[in-house]
């Protein structure tokens, strides 16, 4: 064996949901765990309320523009959990039965909603996630609920990983939570992993994996500058018995593609079948008088609404179209949402304009009414049509700015199926919000940066069919024993709801298999740690599964 001074039992690439969850369990079980994370490591007091470039709004964020698809994700210790909105619904039952366009079930036979239920419980206990109530529903959420009601629809407060007692409804959560109200991984799995001896190295960007003669792997990384992520400051390698790739669905397949010359042929599904979770946004400008007269809304000071800026991302969703009896590609949720200025306003179009209207005088007028905006977020069943091109020289994008912006290799051309879902959801949003003149609505334009997603999925997916899945149902990369993928790229297809809870549940479910793989390689590791909080309810619920895995 040559060269690498450093070695570990488990090397984890990325510290989001897919990385942090195994990091905790494996460290608690006694394995040596090293996590390499390309982004910086920030604490609450470093999460700025500031839109200036170079503050946490760009430090912890990544925005990769591809052909027809732009992907937004986290870039820091804690990954997407630091920037996410913490809306945490379980995926509806029918999602697990989806066939997409391939004519057979996409999910492995072993996974159904019922089978995943105990793993959801574990995550719910660990973060924790709480059911939401009308008391914690923001004005914007209340407005959407009232509009749905007025149109004869239902609407639900969405469960969230937010501590309402600490939350100030500042709506800066996309830059990280200053008040530690949002239950990111920095508050549960990661500190618990550290306590059990795991090590996390920020600003370490993994480039590729090579194979060692003893069946282990060597992981190659660059270190990057803490301000200008374009600048490489050094590099190195670490040898590991087991590698967990959890760089997120926009990055995991790129690392594997780059590793292909050294590791040997990758499964066909690596870098294919990418799903943007069928995302689509509509922005409405609310007629404040109508909000009062039609919906009876009153903030108590004479204003009916004017509260777009207030809150914490999404708080309610209309789930009427999450009906398993509807045809595939026509099921979606309609969730109220907030994005800050910039990302949250640039693609909004001017109702009634002819020609491009994301800029120009009409757009300026639209911004004048910004306080009366309402944004509705569609999560639908897209067609897994995203494909990654050849990897860039480093990372998963050619970085353009010091932080955040880069150009990636993904291309995404929405199929008729995907477009049909978007059209139906646009029509639904219009029907609800334009009823009786409550609002004027228009979808965001896809002509500027293509479609966009904050929920990249499926680019290295699990399944039973080797032709259309990259991972077996234990999340092991086909043909490459000892490499596991546990992040959003493993999810087979769009979920019609926010995905982090399902990604996290799958990562919990994958741990026993990884423990077994470590034991096969002679690592003494136990399975069965309680929740990072010390609670043990979830552990009891999943004991059967662990037994079945031979642990």
């Amino acid at each position: 064996m040559t060269g690498s001074a450093e070695s570990t039992d488990v090397l984890i690439i990325g510290s989001g949901f897919g990385g942090s969850i195994p990091a905790y369990h494996l460290a608690a079980g006694g394995a040596r765990v090293l996590v390499l994370e390309r982004g910086p490591w920030l604490a609450a007091e470093e999460f700025d309320h500031d839109l200036r470039l170079g503050t946490s709004s760009t430090r912890v964020f990544e925005f990769v523009v591809g052909q027809g698809m732009s992907v937004l994700s986290g870039n820091c210790v804690g990954g997407g959990s630091v920037v996410y909105f913490a809306a945490m619904p379980r995926a509806p039952r029918f999602v697990f039965e989806r066939q997409g366009s391939i004519g057979h079930r996409l999910w492995p036979a072993a996974i159904t909603r019922d089978a995943l239920e105990p793993w959801y419980e574990r995550v719910e206990e660990a973060l924790p996630i709480s059911p939401a109530s009308w008391d914690t529903t923001t004005y914007a959420g209340g407005l959407w609920a009232a509009a749905c009601d007025h149109a004869g629809r239902t609407c639900n407060p969405v469960p969230a990983a937010v501590d309402s007692d600490l939350c100030t409804n500042c709506n800066w959560m996309m830059s990280g939570c200053r008040f530690d109200a949002k239950r990111s991984l920095l508050l549960n799995y990661l500190p618990a992993a550290l306590e059990h001896g795991a090590e996390i190295r920020p600003l370490h960007e993994v480039q590729q994996i090579t194979r060692l003669a003893d069946g282990g792997y060597r992981v190659h990384y660059n270190t990057v500058d803490e301000v200008d992520y374009r600048v490489v400051t050094g590099g190195g390698t670490v040898d590991a018995k087991v590698v967990i790739v959890a760089a997120g669905a926009g990055a995991t397949p790129v690392i594997l593609q780059r590793s292909e010359p050294a590791l040997g042929t990758m499964p066909h599904a690596v870098g294919r079948y990418f799903s943007g979770n069928g995302e689509r946004l509509n922005t409405a400008v609310i007629d404040e008088d109508k909000a009062r007269d039609l919906l009876g809304l009153d903030r108590g000071d004479g204003r009916a609404y004017e509260a777009y800026q207030i809150g914490r991302g999404p708080t309610v969703a209309s789930w009427d179209r999450l009906d398993g009896s509807r045809p595939e590609f026509e099921r979606y949720s309609l969730e109220q949402l907030y994005f800050p200025p910039g990302l949250g306003t640039v693609l909004a179009q001017v109702p009634g304009a002819d020609g491009p209207s994301w800029f120009g005088p009409g757009k300026k007028e639209l911004l004048r009414d910004w306080k009366s905006w309402l944004t509705i977020f569609t999560m639908s069943e897209d067609d897994n049509e995203g494909v990654f091109g050849a990897p860039p020289p480093t990372g998963n994008a050619n970085r353009f700015s010091q932080q955040m912006f880069g150009f990636g290799t993904i291309s995404y051309e929405p199929t008729e199926n995907t477009l049909r879902g978007w059209e139906k959801s646009d029509a639904d949003v219009r029907e609800i919000l334009e009823k009786d003149g409550l609002a004027e609505v228009l979808p965001w334009t896809n002509d500027v940066i293509g479609a966009y997603t904050v929920h990249p999925l499926a680019s290295c997916r699990i399944g039973d069919d080797p032709a259309t899945s990259a991972l077996d149902d234990r999340h092991e990369l086909r043909g490459h024993p000892g490499i596991f993928v546990t992040d959003g790229s493993a999810v087979p297809a769009g979920l019609t709801v926010n995905p982090a809870f399902t990604i996290a549940a799958l990562a919990e479910r994958a741990v026993p298999g990884i423990v077994a793989a470590l034991r096969e390689r002679g690592v003494q590791v136990a399975y069965g740690a309680p929740s990072p909080s010390g609670a043990a309810g979830g552990r009891r619920a999943t004991r059967e599964f662990a037994r079945a895995a031979g642990l």
Binding site: R52, P159, P341
Partner: protein, 190 residues
């Protein structure tokens, strides 16, 4: 904020980029005879909001390309001018010389789906846009305190004295719709 044209020695780069930014979010002329700003809108636009400062920020990554961008934009403007038969104008750069509607036509063309340079021009427009609605070159508290035109127009709320935002009053605090019939106690659907 008042400046006279004599105090400024507007160069090609500034005049061109300002005219471009003003096409993204237009504003009013800063002084009589302001050539960069077309003056089709009341109040500040992207230029007053700091578009050039945003473009020049090392953080953004745009600065090293700006000279080339300016030259290329002016070539596109000349082509447009000749195509639609507008007179030449030697006083200001070709893009700046275009009437506002023609500036808009050029911007539409350059950012249209399928244009070979779409990525570049869209990127430039996005930075100009961001200047207006985020003040990306300034700390947001400072932008608000100094009357940043975009954030002010949007009536972006000011923060507490410690520079952080809190909204103690945030909810109607009452049920506003029926729940989906399949809702479980944990808040998800069955």
């Amino acid at each position: 904020m008042e400046e006279s044209s004599a105090e400024r020695a507007p160069d090609v780069r500034t005049l061109t980029l300002e005219a471009f930014a003003d096409t993204v979010i237009p504003g009013e002329k800063r002084w009589p005879g302001d050539r960069a700003i077309a003056g089709v809108s009341i109040g500040g636009g992207s230029v007053q909001a700091g578009a050039l400062a945003v473009l020049e920020m090392p953080e953004g990554g745009m600065a090293p390309a700006l000279d080339d961008v300016v030259a290329a934009l002016n070539v596109h403007a000349e082509h447009h001018r000749d195509r639609v038969g507008l007179p030449t104008n030697e006083e200001v750069p070709p893009f700046t010389a275009l009437p506002w509607a023609d500036r808009t036509a050029v911007l539409n063309e350059l950012t249209a789906v399928g244009h070979p340079e779409k990525e570049l021009w869209t990127g430039l427009a996005l930075f100009c846009y961001m200047a207006f609605d985020t003040g990306a070159h300034l700390p947001t508290t400072e932008a608000l305190a100094t009357g940043h035109p975009g954030l002010t127009l949007m009536r972006f709320q000011t923060p507490d004295t410690d520079g952080l935002w809190r909204f103690p009053d945030y909810s109607y605090r009452r049920p506003l719709s029926k729940l989906h019939p399949d809702t479980l106690e944990n808040g998800s659907l069955k």
